[in-house]
């Protein structure tokens, strides 16, 4: 079940979701750049034809979304690389700035750790993995959105 291919898909969806949030929430700080195109933050909706086959410009894409929440402003940064019509690299970087994300009420916690990197799931003997859920429908939507952004 935990094949490398699936993981790639999951990672890709992660970036797509964050990109969608950028689009859908009208982020105040959206910015995009690519090495060879002027594509910026994803459009809220593509032309409705994003499922058609096509080519996407190679390049590094980047988008940021910032939101206000009760704890202050938070930002998620997404980088992804497209080469030969494939997403070859993706990363999602949450960037907390202030507010409750910097606070911690120790008296109710068993522990606290900074920037947990964790262990490779392959090295663990587990019967299940608990992460965020993902739907085929949602996944497909997310991929379409990336296509929409990257359509050359």
């Amino acid at each position: 079940m935990k094949t490398p291919a699936l993981r790639t898909m999951l990672s890709t969806a992660a970036a797509a979701s964050a990109l969608l949030m950028t689009a859908a929430c009208g982020a105040s700080d959206s910015a995009g750049s690519t090495s060879d195109s002027s594509t910026s933050a994803p459009a809220a909706k593509d032309n409705g034809d994003s499922s058609s086959s096509g080519t996407y410009k190679d390049g590094d894409y980047e988008a940021e979304g910032s939101y206000s929440n009760p704890g202050g402003e938070s930002t998620v940064k997404v980088d992804l690389t497209i080469a030969d019509n494939k997403i070859t690299d993706v990363s999602v970087t949450p960037e907390a700035t202030n507010g409750t994300s910097k606070q911690f009420q120790t008296k109710f916690a068993g522990g606290v750790a900074d920037e947990v990197v964790g262990k490779s799931i392959d090295d663990l003997d587990v019967g299940a993995v608990a992460g965020s859920s993902l739907t085929s429908k949602g996944f497909n939507q997310a991929i379409e959105q990336i296509k929409g952004e990257a359509q050359a």
Binding site: A18, A24, S74, S101, D114, V117, K119, L124, S132, S133
Partner: protein, 284 residues
């Protein structure tokens, strides 16, 4: 071991049992899911929830509403209104609608307070059209209901609905807590004893992607980004699911003081905190 994989309420499910389930049990499970969907889905026109969204009135809710809406009411109180099943309209306006338009409306609706409706089981009385979204705890409740159907027939079963997991069996189940930014890694392992449920929730991967829930702060009508992932172990999957959402939006003290559960939560800056008796191990 036998694994039954199915798609239900917009997400992937897996039911593990020692022997394959009998055909009549499978049929009963599918019927239970269908009845739940017909009541609660805001993505289908013929649901009770869609009926409620069309106009005010008094609506007779299904049996499971007693547990679900009462629980929501408590979460709304504890979270100072941040958790609220009336976020549906706002979610839809933000693009998470029945057509998955992903187009944000120019003026997303404010979320009406939960106190603006009257809930006295089995009747829900509304004074305006409201769109209910039970994404925070509904899937967990359905896991409980499905597991109850199966456990009338067999003792050992693990129901895993993509992040909502209920386990019953002789051996505890070891569950990796997937790193929200890297699905190849785990930040820890939970040891799930028989009869307990574990729910995981993360915002970064399911925005507009999950058929059930996206974490909005009902007070602001905006997505929350301070906490990026939560895991909760509790005595029922509904509790674990709802509390996993509540931990994005609420002081843990308020939740720990009211509901017996253990939690882990990860902040946007990578910090992780967990409750004293969380069953398992954190990789710090």
């Amino acid at each position: 071991m036998a694994s039954w994989r199915l798609e239900a309420i917009g997400t992937a499910w897996q039911v593990d049992t020692v022997q394959p389930l009998a055909a009549d049990v499978v049929a009963e499970v599918l019927d239970r899911i269908e009845r739940f969907d017909r009541s609660w889905s805001r993505f289908r026109e013929d649901s009770v929830v869609s009926d409620i969204a069309r106009g005010p009135g008094e609506f007779v809710m299904p049996d499971e509403a007693d547990a679900l809406l009462t629980f929501y009411g408590e979460l709304a109180d504890l979270s100072d209104g941040a958790v609220n099943p009336l976020v549906g309209r706002t979610l839809a306006d933000l693009g998470y609608d029945a057509d998955y338009s992903l187009v944000v409306s120019s003026a997303p609706a404010a979320v009406p307070p939960w106190s603006s409706v009257a809930w006295r089981a089995p009747n829900l009385t509304t004074t305006e059209p409201v769109l209910i979204d039970v994404g925070a705890a509904g899937k967990g409740l359905l896991v409980d209901l499905v597991a109850a159907v199966i456990r009338r027939d067999v003792d050992a079963v693990t129901v895993n609905a993509s992040g909502d997991l209920l386990h019953a069996g002789a051996e505890p189940l070891r569950v990796a807590l997937e790193h929200p930014a890297d699905p190849t890694r785990a930040i820890g392992v939970a040891l799930l004893e028989s009869g307990l449920a574990l729910c995981a929730s993360a915002t970064n991967r399911r925005a507009w992607g999950d058929g059930l829930h996206h974490v909005l702060d009902a007070r602001t009508g905006r997505p929350t980004d301070d906490v990026v992932a939560t895991w909760v172990v509790a005595g029922s999957c509904m509790l674990a699911d709802g509390l996993a959402t509540a931990h994005f939006l609420t002081d843990p003290a308020a939740l720990v003081g009211r509901f017996r559960h253990e939690f882990v939560r990860m902040h946007a800056d990578g910090r992780v905190e967990w409750s004293p008796d969380f069953p398992g191990e954190m990789f710090t």
